[in-house]
């Protein structure tokens, strides 16, 4: 450990070390992203794909009108998220976000349980006029209307 680096090439050695570390970091990041990124689904994709229960996913869609049911424990709710083509039952324990309501958009983070229910760890609802969950921001007003109409038939 006590030796001096080959004096002529110290700069090259430093560059090589830095590049090696950065490439390692990049490869590691790429590998981890494949396994750990959580994909966004709308209900019809979720029904078609059926991601495995240990895969973290985000589910976005409209809360169907009349679907919100409160459990007797007072903190768990069940509701149905639809996109006009398919619908998925969702279970969530916790304090629902401020603007969560029937007929409006929601993004649920969690995983699809084996019984076909989506177990949500967090709910993101439309927060205010300026903040919309990323995935809901893209839905145009017309799409939202269509989704709501579709889910209330």
């Amino acid at each position: 450990m006590n030796g001096k680096l080959a004096p002529k090439h110290q700069r090259l050695v430093l560059i090589a070390i830095a590049l090696a570390a950065l490439i390692a970091a990049g490869l590691l990041a790429a590998w981890a992203l494949r396994n750990q990124a959580s994909y966004f689904y709308v209900p019809s994709d979720l029904v078609a794909d059926h991601p495995s229960p240990n895969q973290a996913v985000r589910l976005g869609g409209m809360v169907q009108i009349g679907s919100v049911k409160h459990s007797p424990d007072g903190v768990t709710i069940h509701f149905i998220v639809g996109d006009g083509k398919a619908s998925v039952p969702v279970r969530y324990s916790g304090i629902v976000p401020d603007l969560f309501e029937e007929g409006s958009g929601v993004v649920a983070e969690g995983h699809l349980a084996a019984d076909g229910t989506f177990d949500a760890d967090t709910l993101l609802a439309k927060h205010d006029a300026n903040y919309v969950p990323r995935e809901l921001g893209d839905m145009s007003a017309a799409q939202k209307r269509a989704a709501i109409e579709g889910t209330t038939k």
Partner: protein
């Protein structure tokens, strides 16, 4: 009137930046040496004008001048004064004006005070600073005019998002901007040094206070932002790896690396090109941060495509600055001669590990932050969160901490581990003991366990550089280093304990019911409606007692604002020396109870105390360096006087 004045001052400041750039560039080429005399005064006047312009905006907000669009959209006459003023920079245009103001004031300070560097390097530095500033002036004047008027002033403004009506917000963005701007100064110094190929210890010494200052503000900004998210969002979390948070973390990581490599350059004249590169990276990260936050790209790539003007502008600035700097670097780095060499076991080598690890962590955070944007452009939506960031950054962070424990004990140039055998053994033993203790206390997950072990080891190791030295004669900057390293340990301790030992309880409680969370007994005493200046709320009164001790009271609220209409949860916190009890109240449940979410978070406050210690360490280092610089300047001036006398 005030708006016109502010706009005029802004135009003039922009014009002076152009003058500063051109005069500097021509003087450097040697065409017009007299132009060199214009550069420093231009920088000073530019700073004053930008400050006047920002002052005008503050005044408009303080008076709620409804003829200005920005005021209409972001303020209202009913807000408390402090939030009216904070509203001036709580929006896109105002915050960009604040940025450019701080930046030109920094330029003015350099022009007034910096005398160490050779004059050509100074000219190049100030010209680079003007070049960066010019882009922001153009951005403000052509696409984000803060002084734009409305034709028909409405009776009142639209207010400010109540989530943002918080004292933390009033000071959070300016703090981060001071950090970003400090890095822009470091960048200008780096460009200046590259242009004249004067990459010397003096360059590192001139740049270091700015990096230190930027780093202190970023540290405090991140710490404050994290605490704000923790108590305001009501989720009990303190860091979400949200892109906006990452936007402030990435410049911090780069600044931390730059700080350490600049120290090597200043003390030992090694790592020359390396330090320049880090200067470019650090500023790039603050530009990327600004781009992420200000372009609207985070909401959606498509939202960005719908209203691309601002985002494209910042992206273009980013490309010009970073592309230009990297090109210059590629052209000149080869001609910067290599600095002093060092052995594998030396303080320099330990700092290289710090630099490489921090840069790798930076790359990992950057990739994770940009990945969702890239995939979305290809039609696949993903989000990247803690399951990616925590373990992958830890792979580099933990080994870096192990080196941090030993590095400060090593000598410059060449050393042997055998010389510090005792200290290494002590730190290793402490780490193993802490690991065993945490395991015994019931922590089973790998990351918190390792985190705890390293936190305790680094906490001890941080003070080892003091051994055998006279504490009274120790330079201030060494105290700074010790404190900052200790702060890292304290923060990591808080993070690890919080993640290993937090207790959570979610319940619909009847009034009068008692529940338990960790060592706490919590009784819901009552729920009453209360009202504030622009909100009404349901307020729960909780009677809580720690481990059978005397009861205290907590009052979480569920608030409804009416202007603009919005609902927020006001969490209640009870702080003890060994942690915090965190309570949130939700809705009335169907069985007549109230939803309560309770967390007992042991030692969670250490996270932010650690952040404060790191910032304080930075401050001591800055003061220590500045006072040394002043002494040196004094000695030099006296020497010059004496020489002048002898010559007579």
């Amino acid at each position: 009137m005030i708006a016109n004045f502010g706009l005029a001052a802004l135009w003039l400041a922009g014009a002076l930046a152009a003058l500063q750039l051109l005069a500097g560039a021509f003087a450097l080429r040697g065409d017009e040496p007299t132009l060199a005399r214009l550069v420093r005064p231009a920088a000073v006047v530019q700073g004053v004008l930008a400050a006047l312009s920002f002052g005008a905006l503050l005044l408009l907000f303080a008076r709620t001048d409804l003829s200005v669009r920005l005021v209409v959209e972001n303020s209202s006459s009913m807000k408390p004064m402090i939030f009216k003023i904070a509203g001036a920079w709580g929006n896109h245009e105002g915050s960009m004006l604040l940025w450019v103001t701080i930046m030109s004031l920094a330029g003015a300070l350099i022009a007034l005070l910096e005398r160490r560097l050779p004059e050509p390097t100074m000219l190049a530095t100030l010209a680079a600073q003007a070049f960066v500033g010019l882009g922001f002036y153009a951005f403000l004047l052509f696409s984000s005019n803060p002084f734009e008027r409305v034709a028909n002033p409405p009776p009142d403004g639209y207010g400010l998002n109540p989530l943002l009506q918080d004292i933390g917000l009033a000071f959070h963005p300016p703090t981060l901007y001071l950090g970003y701007v400090g890095l822009s100064v470091a960048f200008s110094f780096a460009v200046g040094a590259l242009v004249t190929r004067e990459v010397t210890p003096d360059f590192a010494r001139a740049m270091r206070p700015w990096v230190l200052g930027a780093w202190i503000f970023l540290t405090l900004g991140i710490t404050a932002g994290s605490y704000w998210a923790y108590y305001e969002l009501g989720w009990g979390g303190w860091w979400f790896w949200d892109p906006v948070e990452n936007a402030s973390l990435m410049p911090w990581l780069a600044a931390t690396a730059l700080l350490h490599s600049a120290s090597v350059l200043a003390a030992r004249d090694a790592l020359r090109a390396w330090t320049i590169m880090l200067g470019v990276i650090a500023f790039s990260m603050s530009m990327i941060g600004t781009f992420l936050v200000r372009s609207g790209i985070l909401t959606s790539v498509h939202a960005f495509a719908v209203d691309p003007e601002r985002g494209t502008f910042i992206l273009a600035l980013l490309a010009v600055y970073i592309g230009g700097a990297l090109t210059l670097f590629a052209l000149r780095a080869g001609t910067v001669t290599e600095g002093e060499r060092f052995a594998v076991t030396s303080r320099e080598a330990a700092l290289v590990v710090n630099n490489v690890a921090l840069t790798s962590i930076l790359a990992i955070v950057l990739v994770g932050t940009l990945y969702p944007l890239v995939t979305e452009a290809f039609g696949v939506k993903v989000s990247v969160g803690p399951p990616y960031f925590n373990p992958v950054t830890a792979i580099f962070f933990f080994p870096m901490l192990a080196v941090l424990a030993i590095g400060p004990l090593l000598r410059w140039r060449r050393d042997s581990l055998g010389r510090v055998r005792g200290e290494v053994l002590l730190v290793a033993l402490v780490a193993v003991a802490a690991l065993a203790g945490a395991r015994f206390a019931g922590s089973t997950r790998l990351l918190p366990l390792l985190g705890l072990a390293l936190a305790v080891a680094v906490a001890v190791a941080a003070f080892l550089p003091l051994r055998g030295r006279s504490l009274r004669r120790l330079p201030l900057h060494v105290w700074g280093m010790v404190l900052a390293h200790f702060g890292i340990a304290v923060s990591l301790f808080g993070v690890s304990v919080d993640s290993a030992f937090t207790k959570e309880r979610l319940i619909a409680a009847q009034v009068g019911e008692t529940m338990h969370v960790g060592p706490w007994a919590v009784t819901l005493a009552s729920v009453e409606p209360v009202a504030g200046p622009n909100w009404t709320a349901m307020e729960g009164t909780l009677s809580v007692s720690f481990d059978g001790g005397s009861p205290s009271e907590m009052t979480p609220q569920s608030r409804n604002f009416w202007e603009p209409v919005q609902h927020t949860s006001e969490s209640a916190l009870l702080t003890r020396w060994n942690g915090q009890l965190y309570a949130v109240i939700g809705e009335e449940a169907e069985n007549g109870g109230w939803q309560l979410r309770l967390w007992w978070k042991p030692f969670v406050t250490f996270i932010w105390f650690g952040g404060l210690l790191i910032g304080l360490g930075g401050l001591l280092a800055l003061l220590g360096r500045l006072s040394l610089d002043l002494k040196r300047r004094h000695v030099r001036a006296r020497g010059a006087e004496r020489r002048a006398e002898q010559a007579q």
